[in-house]
Symmetry: C2
Subunit: 73 residues, 2 copies
């Protein structure tokens, strides 16, 4: 894997948990010391490994919230 | 890329748009004819290419909505 650092500034919550204990979480993460971004990602138990994920700006999360609350999705 | 089919059953909305016209969207997508899943993904203009994304179950989106509405994130 590439050489990068991350820092979970704020743990916002868990979205789901797999039978093997991986959790899908929403966090506020600083990557390589940069300004933190919101991050939805799968994590191994105790955060020993990270899986696939996406980062979001605050504006994107606000739009997403709007979509999730206005539709019956 | 691998050989797969997808069908956007329902377009729920756009989360953001990049300067190059790629959109980050929430859709309800059937992959390879399977039961549809919610999908957050980046798309090129006119959906000619798809970028990185994640799929979510309905339960996951409901949890995510809960996190987004209960925090001031």
């Amino acid at each position: 894997m590439s050489d990068f650092k991350y820092d979970i500034i704020k743990s916002i919550g868990t979205i789901s948990e797999s039978p093997k204990g991986w959790t899908r979480e929403l966090n506020w993460i600083s990557w390589n010391g940069r300004e933190p971004k919101y991050d939805i990602r799968d994590w191994a138990p105790d955060h020993t490994k990270m899986g696939k994920g996406m980062t979001f700006t605050k504006e994107e999360l606000l739009e997403l919230r709007k979509l999730l609350t206005s539709s019956e999705s």
